[in-house]
């Protein structure tokens, strides 16, 4: 059994938003519904100024607050690391939305708080999901953390990485390259 992870090198992101729309079309989402987003931050004073762009989505945490608060086990952690949703079990209480420190969920038209699925139909074949494949700057690299030869492990070995909001103890499966 694989254990999936994602490395994001946000220093390479130029904010084209292709990741968002490739995901939308693959997952049949309406224009207003997204599973990933960019957080944009401007720092400094003209002309010594810079822009940071942080791609954000469900972190598929190992210690996911959304899993522990779900009263019906509709949200659950798969063995391969993916935090998944059983639509039949969801009662729409929205506890998961409140619990997520990354603001990763949105209510869909059926009142289910949906989020990034990590597209197991790609990962299981060893392929990059649409958000990563379409990215011209190779910002995202998915892979199997248990496979010592995977590209993701190579990147993790060569770079210092950080997780977002480590103080929350969520143990995300997404690692950001520190630059």
């Amino acid at each position: 059994m694989a254990r999936y992870g994602l490395v994001i090198d946000d220093s390479k992101c130029t904010g084209c938003t292709a990741c968002t729309i490739a995901c939308q079309l693959h997952n049949n989402l309406e224009p207003e519904m997204t599973y990933n987003r960019l957080e944009i931050l401007e720092t400094g004073t003209y002309p010594n100024v810079k822009m940071d762009i942080m791609p954000m989505q469900c972190m598929h945490c190992d210690n996911a607050p959304c899993v522990s608060v779900c009263p019906t086990q509709a949200t659950y952690k798969r063995e391969d690391g993916i935090v998944a949703i059983d639509y039949d079990k969801c009662i729409g209480c929205k506890y998961c939305m409140t619990a997520c420190p990354y603001d990763a969920r949105k209510l869909n038209e059926e009142r289910v708080p949906v989020k990034c699925r990590w597209c197991p139909e790609y990962l299981e074949k060893g392929e990059q999901p649409p958000c990563a494949a379409t990215c011209m700057n190779d910002v995202r690299v998915f892979g199997d953390l248990d496979d010592p030869n995977s590209k993701i492990n190579k990147i993790l070995a060569e770079n210092e990485v950080v997780s977002l909001l480590p103080e929350k103890g969520t143990k995300p499966s997404i690692f950001y390259v520190k630059k």
């Binding site: 822009m51 039949d88 649409p130 494949a133 190779d138």
Partner: protein
């Protein structure tokens, strides 16, 4: 695949029942769900989200486009696509598409008509116009020139010289300079370069996805990237340095760079001696343009200019100034000279035909369909004056001056206008002037949606098949990046036409037959494709299956030489620092300093230069009616105008405020984004917004467009719009 729960499944079943009785686009999302388990067919073609024309693989279920991916071979995409590509694929299902021919009635309202009626009436009217005013009064306006070989048959028959592209609003100053001085355009070899200057060039906004991939890879390997732009553009985000320059003064910066290279002896003397003509003349006119002189004009310190010139020379020939695209090349009175300087700076460091410098694109020669020759009356001078003695002699006639056509209608010189894959009412300056197009005796819009030209000016609207529904003549892949291997790509139908539309040959043939010319188009697009690929040793079936085919490498480094002599397609065979054609009316052929036409008065707190640019998820106004891409604009405050924080503070303007902006021709309200990421002298708007066709419902009344504020002007050398030669006054509050 996503697992559906019981509720979704029931909904999908209900939707499946509905689909059979209503058009697909109505029940779009439900149809997709119903088709969840259908077989996926993967069909290659290429994109039309912009003019990069990236290769795509379309995923189709039950004849319904599901999504697209980047073609893995095509050198523009190599598996990647930008947001606009995905969005415009989905646009096939827009409810604002033209679904059948329309005719504007006497009351101004549109009524549905048949193709037969449209062809008969348009043919008869065109015949009368040609008889009365000659073919010289007929104009074809198109985005580019892809349909030109087909249009030419009709225009040869009626004797019209007036095929006009929209490039006067886009990049005429660049192509004109390169044609005159180099005989064609080269592209940067980004991946092998050590030092790249992007000046007025946002490669991450006007995107070639594989080009960006090569640039980010080069950066990882240590290539230094310098961005010079009044705005911190998307490419600035990955640059080693961003230098905000005073808008309109890039020419001064470039002249000073050349001054350092020459005066400090840093230029490649061997290359210049062998391959450059006109060096002495250039130097004679520009000796005095020192970095200290340029510092005053550009706001970039003399020391910094020297530093850049030295680093450029040190890294050469694996260094280049990016030749560019739209940015700078239709913007200022000095745009042609600015483009000339890009050539001169690159040539001074000897990077032409060098890896890591500037390289050509590998290409193949296509075959041609043997067709009966068309005989017609002799053609007169172009009505837009491009290339015409005494008018715009130095402007490339093959591109024309698009933004003048409406005025030529008003002058009575143009009587019939065909507008195809083009929307001059939104993409040319001064919409009120552009609306005069409607006063011609015949205006036919051949477009896919209810754009401003269709809605406000057309007498007839004829829907062409969408790009996902049609074949086109195969394309040799080239532009903006270099590559070893020639490629050809095919656009082919990935879905059946959703509406009562036609391909361009059938539309032209219908019009020709309406005029009584029954045998002008004795061929199909498929015939044309087969003839084009005949010399390549591949079959139509192979091309359809592959979508993109790559051929053995043909690219060579080294300056083109023939019989021991430099063999560029220029007067001397060398790079001409002095463009012969520009030496008219006592003008000189080498670039020297020309100040911008207008400048905001720095003593006035409310005056700014209005500049514009491409957002990475939009292709100017072409994508502004797309639901997905406009939702992106909404999400990221994309419609706002950027204003420097210090300037905003002086006017009491806060982030998110609405302001009133006024130029000599317009006064409009716009929301402001207050930011440190822009030069204080200017405000910046994305080039996308300001839709004013009520039937393009998503774009309608969203934001403003730079074209609203600029009068019709013509840059004297290359005929472009000078679209940033405008000063606006801004005050806080609504109108």
């Amino acid at each position: 695949m996503r697992q559906f729960n019981r509720r979704t499944f029931l909904k999908a079943s209900a939707a499946a029942a509905v689909v059979s009785s209503v058009p697909l686009y109505v029940s779009f999302n439900n149809y997709k769900k119903a088709a969840e388990d259908a077989t996926v067919h993967k069909i290659p073609s290429f994109c039309q989200g912009c003019t990069s024309y990236c290769g795509i693989i379309a995923h189709v279920k039950n004849d319904r486009l599901w999504k697209i991916e980047g073609h893995p071979i095509h050198l523009k995409s190599r598996g990647h696509l930008c947001a606009r590509g995905h969005g415009m694929a989905d646009y096939a299902y827009s409810k604002d598409r033209i679904q059948h021919p329309w005719k504007r009635g006497d009351n101004g309202e549109f009524e549905k008509i048949s193709w037969d009626q449209a062809f008969k009436e348009i043919g008869e009217k065109l015949k009368d116009i040609v008889k009365k005013y000659s073919g010289n009064s007929v104009v074809w306006m198109e985005h580019g020139s892809h349909r030109k070989p087909y249009v030419d048959r009709l225009f040869d028959k009626i004797g019209s010289p007036n095929f006009v592209t929209q490039y006067s609003t886009c990049f005429n100053s660049k192509t004109n300079a390169w044609q005159q001085m180099v005989g064609g355009t080269l592209s940067g070899d980004h991946q092998k370069s050590k030092y790249i200057i992007f000046e007025g060039r946002n490669f991450a906004g006007g995107i070639v996805p594989n080009g960006m991939n090569l640039i980010t890879k080069a950066k990882e390997q240590g290539t230094k990237i310098l961005v010079i732009d009044p705005r911190y553009s998307e490419i600035a985000k990955i640059a080693d340095e961003w230098l905000p320059i005073r808008p309109g003064t890039d020419l001064a910066f470039r002249l000073a760079m050349a001054n350092v290279l020459i005066s400090e002896g840093l230029y490649d003397k061997v290359f210049v001696k062998k391959y450059v003509d006109g060096f002495d003349e250039f130097w004679k006119y520009n000796k005095h343009n020192t970095p200290e002189w340029a510092e005053e004009i550009t706001g970039i310190s003399a020391q910094k200019i020297r530093e850049i010139a030295r680093e450029f020379a040190k890294n050469a020939p694996q260094a280049f100034i990016e030749p560019g695209w739209h940015g700078l090349h239709a913007h200022y009175l000095n745009s042609t000279q600015t483009a000339q300087m890009a050539i001169i700076l690159n040539a001074l460091v000897g990077n032409f035909y060098q890896r890591g410098g500037l390289m050509p694109s590998a290409t193949v020669t296509l075959g041609h369909l043997e067709l009966p020759e068309v005989f017609g009356p002799e053609k007169g001078d172009r009505v837009d004056g491009a290339g015409v003695d005494g008018e715009f002699k130095t402007v490339e006639p093959a591109r024309g001056i698009s933004h003048l056509i409406a005025n030529k209608v008003a002058e009575g010189k143009v009587k019939a206008v065909f507008v195809c894959n083009n929307n001059p009412l939104r993409t040319s300056p001064s919409p009120e002037e552009q609306k005069q197009l409607k006063d011609a005796d015949l205006v036919v819009s051949i477009n896919i949606d209810w754009n401003e030209t269709s809605y406000h000016a057309a007498h007839y609207i004829l829907p062409e098949h969408y790009y996902l529904e049609r074949y086109e003549h195969p394309y040799t892949v080239s532009g903006h990046i270099t590559h070893e291997h020639p490629q050809i790509a095919l656009r082919q139908p990935v879905i059946k036409p959703l509406h009562d539309s036609k391909n361009i040959i059938d539309i032209l043939d219908g019009i020709a037959k309406g005029m009584g010319y029954n045998d002008l188009y004795p061929f199909t697009v498929e015939d044309d494709i087969k003839a084009a690929i005949a010399p390549l040793g591949i079959t139509f079936e192979q091309l359809k299956k592959a979508g993109t085919i790559e051929f053995p490498a043909t690219l060579k480094t080294g300056f083109p030489i023939n019989k021991g002599k430099p063999a560029l397609k220029t007067k001397s065979g060398k790079i001409q620092f002095s463009a012969e054609l520009f030496k008219l009316d006592g003008k000189i052929g080498v670039p020297t300093w020309i100040a911008p036409k207008v400048m905001p008065d720095s003593s006035k707190a409310d005056e700014f230069r209005l500049i514009h640019g491409k957002q990475p998820w939009h292709s100017h106004a072409m994508t502004n009616n797309n639901n997905y891409l406009m939702a992106m604009s909404e999400r990221y405050d994309g419609m706002s105008m950027w204003m420097n924080t210090a300037r905003a503070n002086k006017l009491g303007i806060k982030n998110g405020d609405t302001v009133t902006m006024e130029s000599s021709i317009a006064k409009k309200e716009v929301k402001v984004k207050v930011t440190e990421l822009i030069h204080p002298d200017c405000v910046w708007v994305p080039s996308t917004y300001g839709g004013y066709s009520p039937k393009n419902t998503t774009a309608y009344n969203v934001g403003v467009n730079f074209n609203d504020f600029i009068p019709v002007m013509v840059e004297p050398w290359s005929g472009s719009t000078m679209s940033q030669e405008v000063v606006v006054k801004i005050r806080k509050g609504a109108m």
